[in-house]
């Protein structure tokens, strides 16, 4: 146990002789991708305590949900985690649909599943590019973005947006996809799958990358579970938990979802989990699109002019690209929710940093921070 002493000293009193050094990482530090601040207490190069200070990007999303109708909420929901906009919209839509007892047309369900998987690929590609960048490898970023571009074109053709899709609606999707879109989407998936080995070869077994990530920042499954860590970060520590398989929503129940896990729990395992998940998601999206091509019918339901969820409450959770997102919706029968609690993956995942970083060296801090795969907007909401 580290002996803790707290003291208040005036400036210039020579406190550095007997106090620990406190180093602030952030709120504006390139490796925090946004405005996360870490208060590190150092003993030389070694971190003895870490306190993540969050909230610099708090936009009050949950409070805003209470004064926006359900269509407007979708627009807010796709912004807290800007890398998984489609999946976040989806969670809100699922919660409202459950409370209202709306059955979504089958074609919409499969299209949603396909798009959710493509969004997961987009999210993972971003991290697969930016994580090596943070620890000094610039090139993977270009390959990751080349693939992202191909998939973003697919999303833009259907929804009109490249990042904030706004394509979900209560009861289905905004509109039917353009003619020939499924074919073009499948071509894009094939192209990404064909070119993924470029990124894979560049970085997965690179000696320098391995030296920076192997055995660094080992997160034990117990710690992961205690902090409620989920998603690829938890699966890299051997937590075999994936809502797509364990509590299927959308069409996942009819799909065989392979869950990518590792047991090492270090930075490299987390990176590998993400990399392998990309291949899995591409396959899943492909299968969904094949199914979409066999279904016909509408992609949304006719809604009343004013959408009101009946009085009651429900909890929906989804496997977002970064982990488990939960939506606790309480309605008093009005056109806005009385409360919509958002449980975001990044928020839980960064909590683990306070124990994960203790005992690590400062240079390893960047490797660990980057490998926790979080979006600051998703933490601060």
């Amino acid at each position: 146990m580290v002996r803790m002493t707290e003291m208040t000293v005036g400036v210039g009193s020579g406190a550095d002789e007997f106090a620990d050094m406190v180093l602030n990482i952030g709120p504006q530090h390139p490796s925090t991708h946004g405005v996360l601040r870490l208060k590190l207490t150092l003993d030389g190069e070694r971190i003895t305590a870490c306190e993540p200070v969050i909230g610099y990007m708090h936009r009050g999303a949950e409070k805003l949900f209470e004064v926006r109708d359900y269509r407007q909420i979708l627009m807010l929901a796709n912004r807290h985690d800007w890398l998984s906009a489609f999946c976040s919209e989806l969670g809100v839509a699922l919660a409202v649909e459950r409370l209202m007892g709306i059955e979504v047309p089958e074609r919409a369900v499969w299209l949603r599943t396909a798009l959710a998987e493509l969004n997961r690929v987009l999210n993972h590609l971003m991290f697969l590019g930016s994580y090596p960048l943070e620890i000094g490898a610039i090139t993977p970023m270009f390959y990751a973005f080349r693939e992202r571009e191909a998939l973003q074109a697919v999303f833009e053709e259907a929804s009109g947006g490249r990042i904030h899709y706004m394509f979900n609606r209560i009861g289905g999707l905004k509109e039917e996809v353009p003619s020939g879109w499924t074919g073009r989407a499948r071509e894009a998936i094939d192209q990404v799958r064909r070119r993924m080995p470029d990124l894979d070869d560049l970085i997965r077994r690179n000696e320098i990358f391995m030296a920076r990530t192997r055995g660094i920042g080992v997160l034990s499954p117990e710690t992961a579970a205690a902090y409620g860590v989920s998603g690829p970060v938890a699966r890299a520590s051997g937590m075999d938990f994936d809502l797509r398989r364990d509590d299927p929503y959308l069409a996942y129940g009819e799909l065989d979802v392979p869950v990518v896990t590792r047991t090492a729990g270090d930075c490299h395992a987390r990176f590998e989990c993400m990399l392998d998940q990309v291949y899995v998601s591409l396959d899943l999206a492909q299968r969904c699109l094949e199914k979409v091509d066999t279904l016909s019918g509408p992609v949304n339901v006719r809604l009343p002019k004013v959408v009101k969820a009946p009085e009651g409450h429900t909890y929906a959770w989804t496997e977002n690209p970064l982990g488990v997102n939960g939506y606790y919706l309480v309605s008093r029968g009005e056109k806005t929710p009385w409360r919509l609690k958002l449980r975001t993956a990044s928020y839980a995942n960064v909590q683990a940093l306070s124990t994960l970083l203790v005992g690590c060296l400062v240079p390893d801090m960047v490797s660990i921070l980057g490998s926790m795969f979080f979006v600051v907007g998703d933490i601060d909401k």
């Binding site: 627009m75 560049l202 000696e207």
Partner: protein
């Protein structure tokens, strides 16, 4: 295990392979990007279709649409009594606030608002991002025809209306 330097060699092989392929980068200002018709670039206003129902301004999540209007009496020869009609005085969209969600375009019951893929309207002063109705009207010629829907899905709104009329 690994031969020392094999990771580096593998990486360089990728670089070498990419070197022989055509470039992916598009030289943007010289080469215009091909944007799909649904692309949400800017909102165009077809003033003649607007009835000042205020639905767009009310449904906008961040209230960035400003509408002013007045009533005018129209005397139609032969009609029993004069009719009142709304005249649009001001229709502004503040693109510095707009979140590009498209709710206004979706709720407009008279098809007065359209998405255009045009995006080159950046300004050096944030106040210039407030587009007035004339400026919004200027975007109208850039609005593309909507894409045909997947034949397995339902027909588009436009096609259904055309069928009813036809």
């Amino acid at each position: 295990m690994n031969i020392p330097g094999s990771g580096l060699a593998k990486g360089l092989a990728v670089t070498l392979k990419t070197m022989t392929r055509p470039v992916t980068t598009r030289q943007y200002p010289d080469e215009a990007p091909a944007l799909p018709p649904r692309s949400r670039g800017v909102i165009a206003l077809l003033e003649a279709n607007c009835t000042v129902c205020m639905l767009c301004a009310r449904e906008c999540p961040d209230w960035c649409i400003y509408i002013d209007s007045h009533k005018e009496t129209v005397e139609t020869p032969g009609a029993a009594r004069a009719r009142q009609r709304n005249v649009l005085d001001r229709f502004d969209i503040d693109f510095s606030l707009c979140m590009y969600c498209g709710i206004c375009v979706e709720v407009c019951p008279f098809d007065a608002l359209y998405w255009s893929p045009e995006f080159e309207y950046a300004e050096t002063d944030i106040r210039d991002l407030l587009h007035e109705k004339d400026r919004l009207g200027e975007w109208m010629p850039t609005v593309p025809a909507p894409p045909a829907h997947d034949p397995r899905g339902e027909l588009s709104k436009e096609e259904t209306t055309a069928e009813k009329k036809g």
